[in-house]
Symmetry: C2
Amino acid sequence: MDYETEAIRPRQVSTRSLDAFDRKILGVLVKDARLPYAEIGNLVGLSPPAVHDRVKKLREAGIIRGVHASVDGPAVGKPLLAYVHVDAEGWGKSQRMMRLQAFPEVEEMHSVAGDTCVVLKVRTADTHALEHLLLQIYILPGVKGTKSYIVLSTYLERPVQAEVTGTWPSVPMPDD
Amino acid sequence: MDYETEAIRPRQVSTRSLDAFDRKILGVLVKDARLPYAEIGNLVGLSPPAVHDRVKKLREAGIIRGVHASVDGPAVGKPLLAYVHVDAEGWGKSQRMMRLQAFPEVEEMHSVAGDTCVVLKVRTADTHALEHLLLQIYILPGVKGTKSYIVLSTYLERPVQAEVTGTWPSVPMPDD
DNA sequence: GGAAAGCACAGACTTTTGTTCTGCCAATAG
DNA sequence: CTATTGGCAGAACAAAAGTCTGTGCTTTCC
């Protein structure tokens, strides 16, 4: 199996500027990608072929990366969610760290700016499995330590939303 | 709009124990939920109606939560990904914090065990928008402070995987 | 300002897929 | 040993996806 050793980058910036219809379609598909084109058309105000055309172009432009089923973590035997901050000396992005992607428990891997190097999102069967995964991290060269944040309750977990907040609510400045 | 004020919980533990076919089907649907049932059937070794039946049951059992399009963050105008740790006095879960879910920039919200109370995953247009969002967090009652981890590069970002690591690689114990 | 070209949409059609039904087989319980 | 339940394959039907053509619009060039 091949591992992604390069960061996920925007494939092509795609001069295509999203208009209001595209935004609406994306908003619908993010919520439920199984709706028929006819129903999407009703929601956004277009005919089914028009929706089809736009979705096809959105896919070709890489704006829609794919369609995935969202499965319940506990139901598939992974009730324990955690974020693991990895501190490494030198530079965190070693090739060997990419091999962690082979574990289905690892869902995200980012290099970050802050008081740590890499943030991992991991979902394991139990604390024992998490320990095993931490062991796999510790044997990587350059890893100085990890800090784990065990999720107690998840209040929100959703995919990338198509909408963007245009005007933020004004906040009264503190009186100092 | 209503906000989820309760944590996402497993709807029903569903006595349904996943067999090998279910695991395979889930694995396929997580990768690409647009494959026809006939093709899934070829991959896992079942007929299209059998796959249909199982997927239907997996949906009814809540094991498949839904099907969502995955859109590219930068392409929809949100190239800046960050994790925000929120420190609050008392108890972080105030009703008003749930209102942050109204912002499409907020993708995840967890209460965690560790040296912080709440972890947010936010995706914004730029640092300016992130600052606006942080302002919205700071005006919440009880919020003492935040710590932001700006994502520099994303090496892996994928939905919940259906697979579970059965036997972990053995790691030689350090010689102390 | 006018004409031509490109784009996007709606309607009708074809093809593919989803969905349902029926019968059969195996496993289990009585 | 028999009856019953659950699940799967094959066939038939319904529905959606995908394609094609024409039309109206905007844009752009002359």
